[in-house]
Symmetry: none
DNA sequence: AATGATTTTAAGCTTTCTTTAAGAAAGGTA
DNA sequence: TACCTTTCTTAAAGAAAGCTTAAAATCATT
């Protein structure tokens, strides 16, 4: 399970993140509301945990914007004010749950599990790596369309990121086992994909391991 | 089994190292937290034993940094404070076990054995010697890329460190059995590899045994 | 059939690796 | 020491692998 956590109190965030980690929940954390919103629109999270009080944009604003854009990722609101008022406001805006600070992290884990146990609201099948998300249904990478051959390669790389895949392997997967000698197909499409990753300003890249193949990995 | 032990109390460290040695566990020891972190990131240890109280950087910091970098080497924390608080903090941060000082060294051995009995968390195919680790999948030596010929020689030397391998042997392995008389190939690539070991500031080197061949061994 | 998208083909270009060769250095021996 | 052998190092030529592009061919849709 992967969640987004928008919280400006670093101390609290650290503690929460490590408990969630322990529970096998991987967390992307940001202290910034704007950045939180940018991340929250991506269809890669199983849930979003939103603090209400944030510098700049408020948690409510994020929640509202997301629901207006018809993004249905489950959201849990966190608020220092244990006011019923806040809770009602949040739930009315489309939050799925509400937790008053201070809370037990075990409580948060339980609610996350409860939320994501529900039949997923998003029925798209998505695989993600780094800042990339690939939608198997409509063959889009971060919402841009891929052709069939582009897709078959990207899909393979994303299903096994950080691992080298040979040209022969990619070729037989995309074109069938009788395509030996046509390695240039793969080179051409790797080139196309790189151009698209470039355009997306992704923090991932396709790395060539000469004479072995390619792997998808994060830049650096 | 090879472990990293970060501990600033030299007297204790000496005793522990002695016992572990006796149990066939080889230990790299450092008293310095910074150096500990530098070593800990290398994928050559079966486990890491971390004292909490260290001059400079704390054991928790090291633990946290490692887990943030997604390094999954099993870690045992040592703490003078037998406080439940410390234990919980450590385990929440991703430690695999916790031992309160003073402890019986036999206890430490037992826990190390228990930890490393588990299926390996690292899925990379890596062979290591000294401070060197060679990744068979993408042909990197301490994360720097090797060409095919460099790789075939390095791999051979690392699989049988401290043993002399003749030029003829390395030649037929890398180039095929019909390459007799081309010993200079091997000489050239040994030279390239030495340059890379130099760049890595490795504590290992390739030693020439005149008229017999080469062996990989630690400097000194 | 016309249009646009995708795939295949091919050629030229760039980068990286391997081979070659020659001179320098080191080691061994009379 | 002088001489011979082995090993080291380097640079440069040549080969191989990979990249990019554009045009031709194919396919799908209206």
């Amino acid at each position: 399970m992967r969640i987004l956590y928008v919280e400006d109190e670093k101390f609290l965030a650290d503690a929460v993140i490590h408990v969630l980690d322990k529970s096998g929940i991987s967390v992307d954390w940001t202290a910034d509301g704007e950045e939180g919103l940018d991340l929250a629109v991506k269809p890669i999270y199983d849930a979003i945990v939103l603090d209400v009080m944030l510098p700049g944009i408020s948690g409510f604003d994020i929640l509202k914007t997301l629901r207006e854009r018809n993004i249905k990722t489950p959201i849990i609101m966190l608020s220092a004010l244990s006011q019923a008022e806040d809770k009602i406001k949040g739930l009315n805006f489309g939050a799925d749950d509400y937790l008053a600070k201070p809370f037990k992290t075990s409580e948060l884990v339980a609610r996350l599990r409860a939320l994501t146990r529900r039949p997923p609201l998003q029925d798209e099948k998505i695989i993600s790596f780094g800042d990339l998300y690939y939608n198997l249904e409509d063959r889009t990478l971060n919402d841009i369309h891929l052709s069939e051959k582009e897709a078959v390669i990207m899909e393979s790389l994303m299903k096994n990121p950080d691992h080298v895949q040979s040209k022969e392997y990619l070729l037989t997967h995309g074109w069938g086992s009788d395509s030996v000698g046509e390695e240039n197909y793969v080179e051409v499409y790797i080139s196309y994909l790189r151009k698209k990753l470039e355009k997306l300003k992704s923090n991932c890249k396709i790395k060539t391991i000469r004479s072995l193949g390619y792997k998808l990995c994060s830049k650096s």
